[in-house]
């Protein structure tokens, strides 16, 4: 009889299994410390990581000018872009709550779960109190219980801040949304650094990296009221597992089109066409999420004529289709996203489009340790309008 746990049996003169080798090496490994992370190569070039160009090499933006709010652009002659005066609508999380409340009026299988961050006066609670469940501060239990609810025939929508959903409850998301493919929708406000001065515990710049690696999960980062509502309706209709990231309280005017049919690629403007080759090598901004899209729109105002494609769905299946559509019109992309460069959409597009050039404007690898509003904390991570325009500049330099 062999009576062991499931570990490999080894003898001193044989090659050790991986974990036994770890055990054998543990004391000196601890004493010697760990190797520094992040020393590998990177297929795209996050703006925050790029080396400073010598002052003499700095150039003006490809079109338009920007305010000199960032020291990296002090060499640039800057004037303010036109203000965005379009009207605002509900914030992403308020639009979610409102739309779900409306949907639940005609679908009694919808249940709304919160982990004590739904706020007082949640409209779903007021309209459907018997199906509104604040489970308390218990994110992992909430996601797992949603799996049980879905198995029982319900459509659970669960919501908590992105760091607590995507990181604390990551294993539950893998099993519930991925392996089980349960019809559970996770709505995650406070994505990126929208938590701003609340600090790093309330930031989430890693959720796309995690969720995009879980097969079968539909991932959306809607911009504006209308997109959020359309995404929520689709989640309820499809019964497929969804992860929806949004911000805190900021509001953004919806992009056209406003209906249920969200295009795979929402072109604000495209300059090129692969067939005719005309303009195919013009740079195209690709915007992801609320702040990525806000920055891309601002860059378009500062640099009129720049192509801009907005993406809502970010999972591998959607992004594969979007990449093909992007490559039909352009070959050079600047992806703007409020996420770490590693594991973000730019990396994914770079792999999907090996014949194209992809640059990333995303959060750098630092940890914000100071207060400030959302925009200020983003800027501390190298994620601001000057960074977007710098990335456009970089492409312009390679063609000049």
């Amino acid at each position: 009889m062999t009576t062991t746990d499931d570990r490999a049996v080894t003898t001193p003169d044989t090659t050790l299994s991986g974990r036994d080798a770890y055990r054998d090496e543990l004391p000196k490994d601890v004493a010697g410390g760990r190797p520094e992370a992040g020393t590998g190569t990177h297929p795209v070039a996050p703006a925050g990581e790029r080396p400073e160009a010598p002052a003499g090499e700095r150039r003006a933006p490809v079109a338009g000018t920007v305010p000199a709010t960032d020291e990296r652009r002090t060499a640039t002659t800057a004037t303010a872009p036109l203000p965005d005066e379009r009207p605002v609508t509900l914030s992403g999380r308020d639009a979610y709550r409102d739309e779900l409340t409306r949907l639940a009026a005609s679908d009694d299988t919808i249940v709304c779960l919160e982990a004590d961050l739904g706020g007082k006066g949640h409209p779903f609670q007021a309209a459907h109190p018997e199906r509104f469940l604040n489970l308390g501060i218990a994110e992992g239990a909430m996601v797992d219980m949603a799996a049980g609810l879905a198995a029982g025939g319900h459509k659970p929508f669960v919501s908590t801040f992105a760091p607590f959903a995507a990181l604390r409850a990551a294993e539950s998301l893998k099993l519930t949304l991925g392996y089980l493919a349960a019809g559970v929708t996770v709505v995650a406000p406070y994505a990126g650094v929208s938590g701003a001065w609340f600090g790093t515990t309330h930031h989430c710049l890693e959720d796309l990296a995690i969720l995009r690696s879980v097969p079968g999960v539909t991932i959306a980062a809607p911009y504006g009221d209308a997109e959020m509502r359309a995404v929520v309706r689709e989640a309820a209709r499809s019964g497929r597992p969804h992860y929806i990231r949004t911000g805190r309280n900021a509001t953004y005017e919806s992009l056209a089109p406003l209906g249920d049919e969200l295009p795979l690629v929402n072109w604000e403007f495209r300059a090129g066409d692969r067939e005719g080759r005309e303009g195919w090598d013009a740079v195209c901004l690709v915007s992801v999420g609320e702040e990525g899209t806000r920055l891309a729109l601002a860059a378009r105002r500062a640099a009129p004529g720049t192509a801009h494609a907005h993406l809502v769905y970010l999972d591998h299946e959607h992004l594969t289709g979007a990449a093909a559509e992007l490559a039909r019109h352009h070959s050079r992309f600047v992806v703007v996203e409020e996420h770490r460069g590693q594991g973000g959409v730019a990396e994914a597009l770079a792999l999907l489009l090996p014949a194209c050039e992809v640059r990333s404007v995303s959060a750098d690898r630092s940890w914000p340790s100071q207060g400030g509003d959302h925009e200020e904390v983003m800027a501390a991570l190298g994620l601001d309008l000057p960074a977007v325009l710098d990335a456009l500049d970089a492409f312009a330099r390679t063609t000049s």
């Binding site: 009889m1 062999t2 009576t3 062991t4 746990d5 499931d6 249940v111 018997e130 199906r131 469940l133 489970l135 308390g136 218990a138 992992g140 239990a141 909430m142 797992d144 219980m145 949603a146 799996a147 049980g148 609810l149 879905a150 198995a151 029982g152 025939g153 319900h154 294993e171 539950s172 099993l175 392996y179 089980l180």
Partner: protein, 273 residues
């Protein structure tokens, strides 16, 4: 406070049937230990009587769902599902083989299994969520039964869920603890003990009872109870013996994961009664 639950007297014929199922299932588990993969033998044998009684309740087809949260006892679950008539094919010859779903920890490809378990703690909220769904649908008599190990109670997720279940007044949620005293690296009492366990559940707002986890009559009585009007979830602390039924390994922590040859399997199976 530990309470004594009143339940209808069991049917001797049913208990005799379940007892025979348990014997058959233990022999299947030994067969799986004799597979090239081996299996988590001790915990599979300790939990078998609980699973057979719980699956008997679920067979009433009232919406009750059984979730084996201590998923490493997959061999025990597969055997119990087979002898209970839920899993038609004999899983023992197929255990751990490519092309078959009988992995070392169970997943939803196995007939009769809804949830993937094995990463400890998750089965408890799966069952609680199921109970909540039944309650919301106006079927509070349908139970969500989670079967956890005592070592598994070291996972915070278990207690997080207990907090939620009590707050939601999930009277149709039942958590059965297979208290065999062992865990992967030794004894629960030596690694991270659980003193006052019944009192802990009671303090969380559960009805709590302690029971002999190999007494099929008592288990059947308890798990067939009508809980449709209960306001508190139920914790059942079932005292069991690791390796129960195979004298060579009974009570031995080393029985946690076992690989044996066919000759030894045959000998052990002859001793199971």
């Amino acid at each position: 406070m530990t309470i004594t639950l009143e339940a209808p007297p069991h049917d001797d014929e049913i208990v005799a049937t379940l007892t025979e199922r348990a014997v058959q299932a233990r022999r299947l588990v030994v067969d799986m230990a004799a597979s090239p993969r081996g299996c988590h033998l001790g915990g599979s044998l300790s939990v078998l009587d609980i699973l057979i009684a719980a699956l008997h309740r679920a067979a009433a087809d009232d919406g009750t769902e059984v979730v084996l949260s201590k998923g490493h006892a997959a061999a025990g679950l597969y055997a119990a599902l087979h002898v209970s008539g839920i899993l038609p094919e004999n899983p023992a010859p197929l255990y751990g083989l490519a092309g078959h779903p009988y992995t070392g920890h169970p997943g939803p490809k196995v007939p009769g299994v809804r949830f993937p378990t094995g990463s400890l703690g998750h089965g408890v909220p799966y069952a609680a969520g199921w109970a909540l769904s039944q309650k919301l649908r106006g079927r509070p008599g349908a139970l969500g039964i989670a079967v956890a190990g005592d070592g598994e109670l070291q996972e915070g997720l278990v207690w997080e869920t207990c907090q939620v279940a009590a707050a939601q007044e999930l009277g149709n949620f039942v958590l059965v603890v297979d208290r065999n005293g062992g865990q992967n690296d030794g004894m629960v009492a030596d690694i991270s003990p659980l003193p006052g366990l019944a009192a802990r559940f009671t303090a969380f707002g559960f009805d709590t009872t302690e029971i002999d986890g190999h007494d099929l009559a008592a288990l059947t009585d308890l798990l067939t109870e009508d809980r449709s009007t209960a306001r508190k979830p139920l914790a059942v602390i079932a005292d069991t013996v690791k390796g129960k039924g195979v004298r060579a390994v009974e009570g031995k922590p080393g029985s946690h994961y076992v690989t044996i040859d066919e000759a030894r399997a045959a000998k052990w199976k002859r001793g199971i009664r």
